[in-house]
Structures are given as C-alpha cells and as structure tokens.
Subunit: 774 residues, 2 copies
C-alpha cells in the first residue's frame, strides 16, 4: 500500500481559518440574552469564612444572581472535583469543592459567583459580596507543611496529602558498595503554562429538552462531561460539550476547575446563557500551578563513573487542595528519575504536601522536566568530582539500543511496569554533540570572552507518552464520492490534528488528502474519549484513525469484490479508486462513489454492513518512550545575570514522523517554553502566602529576544514497536531537558553548581558572585 | 422476553416541554447579528420577466443584499430542485429553480430575495425590487392544459409533464362481458395542509470551519442536505441540519422548496445568520398545494354486484412546475384505486398536467384520499343502480382475510408489486356498521327531520405505508447505568416519536422506560435517513430501533456470559439487570452499569466490540397496508348547506399497536383534517390564475364546531407479517376515507350524486337544489 502522505511535510489545513481571521474561539461564542460571570475570590491564603453577605451585590443594577456554597447546597448535593484517571489512596480527602464552604485555603479560591448583564457589571458587583474572614497562618513551603503545626484540613491531622515509597534492586547495598556517592538538594521553581488564550466557558441550557451545551471544554471533554453530569445530577447524554478553536493548552487548560461547574450551574439557574472568560490575573492566581518540587537526590557510582544506585526524596509542593492530578506530578518525577540511564538500584519516597498556594496541575512534561533537571545536574556534579567529561559519563551509562526493550520496573504506584520500547540514546547524544560542536567548545568552557563566561551543557532524556487512559477511538466515514470525514474523541488545542489525522486517514484508507475532513471537539462525535494530554493523541488517536481507515478500506475491497465476483486480494484501493491488483495504470474498476452506493442501506450489496464507516479503538499495551539529547552553548554576563544562548541543539527521536513540518513546530515551541520557564518564569509567593507575580509585569514570559534559534535534528532511528504507525508522541518532548541543559551550561560557564531554578537574572548574578567567592 | 411498554397507553414524554412552554421552534432560534429574509414573488401567474431592478431596495436603510437568479448564477451553477425518491422519465424537464430566471409560471413564484436587518425592513424593501413582466395567458385547469395552445415551457412543446398507462387483467373483455357498466367524472378539489406552525429556516455559516448549520429542516433532512450540498457545491458533512420542535407537517412541510436553498445561500453570502419564517399568505400561495385531480372512472360488474373491472383516466393538475414529488400523487391515486376490493381487471391512464398554479406536493395520504373518494362514490352509485344496499355491495367485493397476502399487481411505474400484507376488511366494515347503528339508520336515509335531510355513508380503504426509501436506521447506545440514548435518522413533526421509540427501545433492550431518551432531528446523528413521510417512521424506524435495541441486549448477554463464564442462554436481561435465567426473583448477577464497564474501551472484556451501542438498519421487503372503514351519519340543511355530523365512526387496523393513546390522537387528528378538507377547505383560482383563497378569511379551516366527536375502534386483528413489530404505520390512516364517507352520506341524504368536492355550504345548497329539481 502506498503512503503518499504519512511522513510528508504538509502544511496545516487548519491554518486557513486562523490566517484569514475566521477561527472561532470561546470568546467568539455569542448567544442571545447571554449574561456574564465573575468570581468572588478569597484575598486570604488561609482563613475561616465567617459570613457572606451578597445583598449589596444583589441590589446592584444589572446583577442577576449571586451564588455561594449555600445556594448550591440547596439545589444539588455538592461534590468535590475528583481526581482524573489515577487514584492515590487518601488524597481524595483533600479535594476542592467548586466554592469554598467554611474555609479558604489559597488566595484566589472561589467563594461566590456573580452573574450580571455585562462583564463590567459582574466585576463591579464583586465588591458587593461582603465576606468576613478569620485569617489563619499560611503555609508556603514544604518544610512548614511537614511540621503539621498549622493544618489546612484540621480534621485529617496532616498536611501530607499522599506518600509513596518504593525501590528497585538493592539500594542500600549499592550505596554500601559504591566508590563514590554524593547527596544534593535541588529545587524546581513554581511556574505554569500561559497559553495565549486564557480559559473560558459559555454554557446554555435548554429547559425544554433538558439539554446543556457548554462551549470551551477542551483537553479532556469526556472526563469533564462525566464529572459535570455527576455534579448536576443529570444524564451525560443530555450534556453537549463543544470545543471551539483553542489558543494553546500545555496541560493547564481544560482540566475540571471550579468554574467548569459554576458556569453551567449558573446558566441552568438563571435560565440564560452564561459566559466567563478568565483574565490573565485569574489565570495566574487560580488556574493550576506546576513544577514546584524539592528533590533530595543521592547517587552512587563506581570510580569509573558506572552508575550503581540512586535515592530520592521528592517533595511535591501542592497547593491548598489536591486537584485533578493529585499526586501525579511528583509521582511522575520519581517514575522517570533514572531517565535513559542504566541505574539498577533505585529507591524513592514521594511526599505530596499541602500549602496555602494555588493547586498543582500539569504543565508540559509534568515531572519529567523536573526529574531531568535533578538527575542531569547531579550527573554533571559527579562528572566533575570524578574528573570525567560529563558527556563521557553519560555515554558510559546510557542504555544501549541493544538492551531494548528495556524494563525499568514498577516505579509508579500503578499496575504496570515502565518498559522503554525502543531508542538509540547514545546516537542522539552524539548527534547533539556533533551539531553543537562540542569538541571545539570544550576548550572555551568557563572562560570569559567579551565580558561573558562561556559554558556548555548537555542533558539526555526519555519521556513516557500515551499515559493516562490507554485507548483512544476514532470514526472514519465515507460520506460522498470524494468526501471522507474523520471523527475524533480527542480534543485539539492547536497542535494540528486536523492535518496529521487527515494524513493518517488518507494513507490508511487510500484517498486523496484533500478529500479528508477531520472533526473533533464535540462529545457527541464519539462515545468515549481519553482527551488530549501526555502526548497521547497521535500515539493512541492516530493509531485509532489508522485502524478505522483500514477497516473502511477493507470493507471497500470486500464489497467491491463481492460485487465484481472476485476475491478481495484481486483488488486494490488507491487514491479513491478500486483497481485490479497490479494493473493500476489501467482504468479503475470502481470509484469510491460507486462503492458507497453499493454499501448504502437500500443496496442489496451491503450484506448487513451498511455504509462505509468504521469505529476503531486502539488499545495500547504500554507507553511509548520518545527520547533525545540537548546541548547548549551559553555566554553569561556576570554583571547583569543575562544569559545569551549562542547555540541550542536538540536531537530527538519521537518514533516514526507523520509530518516533519508540524513536528518541527512542536519541538521548537516546546523548547522555547522550556527556555522561558528556565530563565524567566516564576510564581513567587511571600511568606504570608500572597502571590507576588500575579501579572505579566512580574511573571516574565520569553520573547523573541530570549528564545534562541534552535537547531533541531529529528532522528527517525527507533520507531515504536508497539503500535502500527510506529509513532511515540511529540508534543511535550522538546521541553523536557531545557532546565537540565541550561543549568548545566550555566554551571559550566560560572564554575558553580546550580541547585535551583529559575536562572533569572538576579539569581544568575548571585551565582556569578559565588564564583568570585570561590 | 417481557414487553411491559409496547402496547401500553403511555403519555407523551415530549409533552412536558410543550405544556411548560419550553419547546423550541425554529422561530425561537435567535442568533447574534441575525438578519431576515423576505421573498419577492411574482404577482403574475404566467409572464416573461423583462427586467429586474433592485437598486431602490439596495439603497434602503437596513437592506443588506438582494439576490436574483443572475446573482446566484455568478456564484454557483444554478440547479433545479430535483425529484425526491422516484423518477418519472421526462418530468425532470419541468423542475423549478430556486429563483425564476426569465419566466414565471405561477403567482407567488420567487423572483428575488431581500436580506435586511429586520423582518419589517425586508418586507418593506420588496417594493424596491422593480420587476417588469410581459404577461401571458394563464392555464388553470386540466382541459386548458391538455390543449397545449398556451405552453408553460415552450421549448418542450407540451403541458403534459408525464403520462403513465397500464393495466392488469383483460379490462376490455371484463367490460364486454359485464352485465353492468357506468362511467363518471369525479373532481377532487385543490387544498393543502396548514400546520399550525408555518415553515421557517435559520441558516448560519461559519467561514472558518466552512460549516453551514440550518435550523428548521424537517421531514426529509438527509435528502434535503444532499440537495443543498449539490446546489452549494460543498461536502455534505460540512452541512448540519438541526430540527427544532415542529408544529405539524402533514406532507407540506419539509420538502425542498426554493427557500431551502435561498436562505443558506444568503447566509453564506452576507456572512450573517439569516432567518425566514413563512407567513400564512406565503404558505397558501407558495408552499405545495395538493389533491386537485379529475378522474374519469368506469366500472363493470355482474348483475349481482360482483365487480369485474375498472377503467380510469386520472388527470393530476400540477402547478407551474413539477416539484419534488413530480407525478407521485396522481400515480398513487391510480395505484390504490381498486382499494380493498377484488377487481381483477383494471386499466388506467395517468396524466400530469402543468397549469399556472402553485406546484403540487403531498398532503396526508396523497392520492389515497382522492382514490377512495372516486371509488367509493362509484360503488354507491352502482349500488343504487343495481338496487343493492351499498354495504352489501362492499361486503360482497371486499378481499377476504383468507386471500391474504393478496397481490394486487404492478399498479405503479416502479419495480415492485403491490401486495396487501394482511387485513380483515369485512370485519372492519362490520365493526363500523355496528358502531354507527347502520341497521337503525337505514330507515332514516334521505328523510327530513327538523328541516334537515338525514343520510348515512360508508367507505372502506386500504393504504400503503412505508413507501419511499425502503429502509431506516437507528442507533441505540447505553450511556450510563440508567441512561440509554436512541438516535433516529428520521425527523419528527409532532407525532410523539420520543415516546413511541422509547417504548420500543425499552422493550427491545429490556430497561425501564424512564431510562430511555430519544434524540432526533440532527443529520449528524445518523449517516442515512429516509425521512418522515408515508407513515413510515414506526414501520421502518420503529423496527430499526427494535433491531438495534435487541443487538445491544444480545451484546449485554454475550459480555455478561463471557465475564461470568456461562452460556448466554443461561442469562436474561430484564429492566436493566442481568439475571440467571428463570431466577429473576433472586438478586441480579450484574447491573447495566457493571456491564457497561465491562464493555468499556479500556476493559479486557469487550473483545473488540467497544461500548454498548448498536446501529441497525431495518430493510423492508415491501410496503404495509393498514386498512379500515368509516361510517358517518349526517343531517344536511338544504337552506344553509350546512352539514351536521351526528355520528362519525372509524374502525381501523394499523397492525400491532405500540401506544393506543398516541394512535387515538393520530387517528382522530387525521380524520378531523379530512372532515375540514372535505367540508370547507379549497384553494380557489379565478380564470386568470389568481388565487382567491389566499388567507384564512377565504380558506376555511375546521374548528371545534365542525369537527365531530369521532368514535374510534382500533382493531388489532392483522399485525403485519413482514416486520418484527407487526406494525403498519398509522399517521395518515384516519384521513383516507373522510371525503368518501362524507360524500356518500350527503348523497344519501339529498338523494343526489356528489361528483365533486368540497362539500362547502354553497355547493351543498346547489346539490340540495338539484334534489328539488329531480
């Protein structure tokens, strides 16, 4: 079967509407009689609620309703926002309710919601909801949390929401027998994704048919629909989620937040459509934060650098509640802490700690960015201690391709084992070193040139993808002679699925690419859907499209053969036409339109299988493991703390490539986010639990000035052996090693050891000052 | 398998929203920036268009656009509105285009469309579109049309749009050998359905995704979508039809009319949603007319009343164009003219004649109301001639149940033969006679009492149902532990499908009725759909739901048996629970929710069949034939022409009854329409081709004063043997014999022969006057 489209650098089909300004985002949804919501949020990080008096707000012109926890309670049984996918025993005691009932646990927590005729009136009315609080001391870091002096949930007697301890091999023996050990404490800073478009929802309820339509649900619409149905006590099939175009997700958008209940609930109560668009301040102070972790890491090795063992205490700094991901992020840190290296003995303890900050959720490559930073920093320290070149040390310990598939073991509290499916890790590092010019740069390491210290950093990584729900479905339907529709269960957040899935369908089915249209983002399209996270869409959804397309293709051949009275093997279906096998140069024997007629419900030829349509669920036996290496050359100005990235090389292997053009965009976009996150972004809290960087004045995003011209090498050395397309998922891959590679480079440049991120200018100046001390 | 719901008199689920005023009809669809359409219509019944100058309209405040044929032509290839389902060779030359190009052929024909900010502005601007015409002579009846002096389509040289001649048996010999023959000319009057809600459309185009959504498409949405897709030259899957609640169809609503192209086209062109709601004048002057036919009928019989043969010339008086049904209505008259009687020799000729009137389409029981009137009148005349009681004559000739299935023969220009599936015709007539008290009333026939002549009339009928597309599909999906969704391909026009289909699903699947929700009216729900006409929904769609529900039920048992490691036969599924067969009193072994989990895409138990969902297409081998008899006792005031209906009895057998409550409503509603149509309604044209009864002042609808208390006997003697539910379709059955029974009763009362409908007061006075003459 020819595959003209898979692997081709095809431009994005969806860009036509974005470039012509005809995309439809959630804020473009306008409904008659629509009203607007604003959320009353706690100014206190930790306080008991004494009274809520909404009467002033309710009397304001244009205010339609104010809802508090008491109002909800009077109408439906309030339920907390549940964990998604995974369960972590005990953590469900610390879930968040859509509105605070008697206590607030972070500044920004929703206490009431105001519905008014306009956004302005709704926001003005926030002050009319008078809440009196009894303030309590705030907990802002892991150590305070663990003291349990101040408890966020008094009734549970602890701030440790979840703990998980386990090991592989014999860790103590490894450390006993080691020639070399070192122990360090690393700190990854709190930051979060900032998609260009903030979150937003429009909800409209039709009381006649008792149907609720919600626009703006993205990422995991089927999961969120089930949660909302439970909360509203209505059947799932009466709730329709429609995903408009989306301006970026990166993990933060689309989880079930308080507003995901409050807006539909309000729409049902006030009998008018309700819109809420998150503003940037709300995004920074109420949407999931991520990344904040402390890792006490200990390593054991032979004198020659051979790794023997690793021990880690990982402290995940959750916020006031366990949000949808509960313990997932620090657990993920532990799961892949050994990375692409053979480290046979590994012990770890994960603690999830409540603090009076915003709840923690995922940001691209959750736990993997962090673990890569912890491990790769440690390897560079160890290389220095042992007098080995850090890339030599890596090459010595990287799992060789001959060891694939490589079983790491059960590093998560779940029932399946981590097994790297394929990958040539040394080749990726060699490629990165070659491209960055490692040999030439080595001589410059740590030297000053034009007032800046030059340094080089490398880092290797592997990332699990397709985690979460281990299946995805798709429906492929031939609708007309030159019309094929693909229906996805997954959401799309801007990645280009309409193009990639069309390529996969066109090849799997055997039709011209232009005949294929991809539909997504409507919970009515598919009964099940695992959502868009963990780089799972192409891995699971792509293989589902491929499977469905192939089933339709087989049906086309089966029906044609029956009609022509030949064996199916005597026919082939190419570019929308049925040919006698091997005589494709000749005239087609049937067109797709003719076969569609044969398959029609009134045709005598369908034999019980009506229509040219198939739904296929691809089920993954395990995860995929894309991998790569970063190498970066920086020049650090010790006076200003500014880091110039002179060269940034990424070598990655994400399995078989569907569309190199889109992959390049994904890889570079992710790396750009990682550079920004590493150099600039930080959600800083003061000791009282107030967020100091709640606007873009203080929370700095990278601009074209900070983002380097990445040099990208996409190696297609190791297609995944565990799915038909050989793909591994690509969305988050580029970000994983950015913190690690940059911190190694800066350490190398300044001759100091970076132990904490971010590498913001004032912190780099402090590091540079320590160099002078040394 | 227990069937607690099929056959039960369950109240309509949909009435909750209608009774609480929360139904959503097309005029309730309001979109931001919506604009409004009004149609410029020809005031001339027949004219050449000389010029169209829209400049004055275009300059009016609030007018957004004016479109004429020339504008359409510049953007897409204009295509005529095609025939639906059937083809009649040659008639396609006379199809209508959405706008007139150079000639108008009926008063009311669309010439241009105006789009403006409000409905008022749009209507005001109609006068600003200046059209100059060169008027031509108008043709208003069958005889003028056949002369071909004036031609509607000069280029085709004839006004006979289609002709079909055929026979069964040896007609000439039958007439030669007959003891008795008679020839009559009957005339059925032009009238049409007037649903409470007029037609209406809202169209909205999203240029980004290139998707068009149209609200208000009913009856045959899948067919109409294909037509619209062809006309707009866009893929079908990019067009979404959404059917809101609908205030009645009766055949007239939902066919593809000019506006069904013009409104979506305009929405795409102006870039804003466009609404058009038909007003009553437009409905009467532009929506399909129906019924107008002349029938020259000749009958041959033995002296004892045994029917030997029948000859008919049927003249269908079409309008200026062949609309979607082309020749269907007069062809249907011919097809069932012999009715429930054994008439072995039958010859017929059908002519479809163009006239300068509104195009002809279907109205409930199209052609059957007419043929029943023609035949049953003739039988009463013959009974009088032969001195036989008319009910005796009928009983002598009715096909006995022992002759079932009874092959009538190929009475249509189609490839399948009419075969009555089942029915006890004599029992139905006996039942009607018994209920009306025929024996007692006979003595009163023709006598005056209190200034009114009393008469009794009877009529027997059979009606084909499930014609048209001989399949229908449905999808049944278990969505939650107590949530089952049924998706229909058919539209619903107020009949109660949400209740009936839920009953069928609940029994076919084995769940409580309240757990079932029925979805319909969205072309995205099902890829195919034959629409709602010809009383086909329960016959075809109901059996599709039943089949799909049974498939889901079998799957539930299959998965449960696999999981429990027993044979499927050892389990039964009752009211949402799996039990060991025969021990239903005991605890269920599995709940539906548990089985749903087992079938989930991540479950190891689904074995390739994910979800509890099935799509099933029921294919009919032939049509069904519900049947019945009407008997009516009238008192006619010769002075006023008013007819008092003292008793109206309907005995009908529509096969197995799903819901007697809804069937009663359908039967009585249809009969009420038939009474109104027979006594009051007429679309009267003057000799110049102008409609004189274009408002409800002149076109009279029945009120509670005219509609009698019907006495209804639903006999369930003859379930259809050709589908699993044994149903036959019921919607149109009640109307068939109304014209026949009432005209026989009036003839009987006045001692004259009614040869033409309607029996409006002034016509009854004329008839009464003839009595005095005689």
């Amino acid at each position: 079967m020819t595959q003209p489209y898979i692997g081709a650098a095809i431009r994005r089909k969806e860009d036509r509407r974005f470039l012509t300004g005809t995309g439809q985002f959630v804020d473009d949804v306008k409904l008659p009689h629509m009203v607007y919501a604003a959320v009353v949020r706690s100014p206190h990080p930790h306080a008991n609620i004494l009274t809520i008096d909404a009467s002033a707000a309710q009397q304001m012109d244009g205010v339609i309703a104010v809802f508090t926890y008491r109002h909800i309670e009077a109408l439906v049984k309030p339920r907390p926002i549940p964990l998604r996918n995974r369960s972590y025993p005990g953590i469900e005691r610390f879930l968040q309710y859509p509105l605070a009932s008697h206590k607030v646990r972070y500044a920004g927590e929703p206490v009431a919601i105001v519905i008014a005729e306009t956004r302005y009136l709704a926001e003005d009315a926030l002050d009319g909801v008078v809440v009196t609080y009894d303030s309590l001391p705030a907990i802002v870091d892991a150590w305070q949390s663990m003291q349990n002096d101040v408890l966020l949930f008094e009734e549970h007697g602890t701030n440790v929401a979840y703990e998980f301890t386990s090991s592989l091999g014999d860790v103590d023996q490894a450390f006993r027998q080691a020639d070399y050990t070192r122990k360090e404490r690393f700190h990854c800073h709190r930051h979060t994704a900032n998609p260009m478009e903030t979150r937003g929802l429009v909800a409209s309820y039709a009381p006649g048919r008792q149907e609720l339509t919600v626009w703006g649900e993205t990422k995991v619409p089927h999961f969120n629909r089930r949660v909302l149905a439970d909360m509203l006590e209505m059947p799932e099939h009466r709730i329709h989620f429609i995903e408009p175009d989306v301006g970026g997700g990166f993990g933060v958008r689309g989880e079930f937040y308080p507003e995901n209940f409050l807006i539909p609930f309000a729409a049902m109560q006030v009998g008018r459509p309700v819109k809420w668009i998150e503003d940037r301040r709300e995004h920074l102070t109420a949407a999931n934060h991520s990344r904040e972790q402390v890792c006490e890491l200990e390593i054991a090795a032979k004198r020659d650098g051979t790794l023997l063992g690793m021990r880690a205490n990982i402290y995940g700094v959750l916020g006031g509640y366990a949000r949808t991901h509960g313990a997932f992020i620090p657990v993920s840190t532990a799961a892949l802490l050994t990375g692409p290296y053979r480290i046979p003995n590994y012990g770890w303890d994960v603690k999830c700690l409540l603090t009076n900050k915003v709840g923690m959720g995922t940001y691209s490559a959750p736990g993997r960015y962090e673990s890569c930073f912890f491990r790769e920093r440690m390897l560079d320290m160890m290389a220095a201690d042992l007098g080995i070149d850090p890339t030599e040390l890596r090459l010595k310990n990287l799992i060789p391709p001959s060891a694939m598939p490589y079983e790491v073991g059960r590093t998560r509290p779940e029932d399946y084992v981590i097994t790297y499916d394929s990958g040539d890790y040394p080749a990726l590092l060699h490629k990165a070193l070659e491209l960055v010019g490692y040999e030439q740069l080595r001589s410059k390491s740590g030297l000053m040139q034009d007032g800046k210290y030059h340094g080089i950093g490398t880092a290797c990584f592997v990332k699990s993808t397709g985690t979460g729900i281990p299946y995805e479905g798709a429906r492929v339907a031939v609708v007309g002679p030159d019309q094929v529709a693909v229906y996805l269960g997954v959401a799309t957040l801007g990645q280009g699925h309409e193009t990639v899935m069309a390529q996969i369908c066109a090849d799997g089915l055997g039709v011209p690419l232009d005949d294929v249209a991809v539909y997504h983002g409507n919970t009515d399209f598919m009964p099940y859907g695992g959502g868009t996270s963990a780089s799972r869409v192409t891995t699971l959804g792509g293989n589902a499209v491929y499977g469905a397309a192939q089933q339709v293709r087989e049906k086309i051949l089966r029906i044609s053969a029956r009609y022509l009275d030949v064996r199916p093997g005597e026919l082939e279906f190419v570019q929308g036409h049925v040919y006698r096998t091997g005589v494709q140069a000749s005239e087609p024997v049937l067109t797709l339109g003719q076969v569609l007629e044969l398959a029609g419900p009134a045709s005598p030829h369908h034999e019980g299988e009506v229509g040219l349509e198939a739904t296929y669920y691809f089920q993954a036996s395990q995860e995929c493991y894309p991998c790569g290496a970063h190498a970066v050359h920086v020049a650090v100005d010790p006076e200003t703390g500014k880091i110039d990235i002179l060269k940034y090389v990424i070598a990655e292997d994400v399995g078989h490539v569907i569309n190199p053009l889109l992959l390049t965009g994904q890889a570079i976009g992710a790396a750009a986010q990682g550079v920004g996150a590493t150099l600039l972004e930080e959600l800083v809290y003061d000791d009282d639990g107030q967020l100091l960087s709640g606007t873009f004045v203080d929370y700095l995003l990278p601009t074209s000035q900070e983002v380097p011209d990445f040099e990208l090498a996409i190696l297609d050395l190791a297609p995944s052996p565990i799915n038909p397309l050989g793909v591994k998922g690509a969305g988050e891959i580029g970000i994983v090693a950015t913190g690690a590679a940059l911190s190694n480079a800066v350490s190398n440049a300044l001759g100091v050891q970076v132990r904490a991120l971010p590498l913001s200018p004032h912190k780099v100046r402090e590091l540079a000052a320590r160099r002078n001390e040394a």
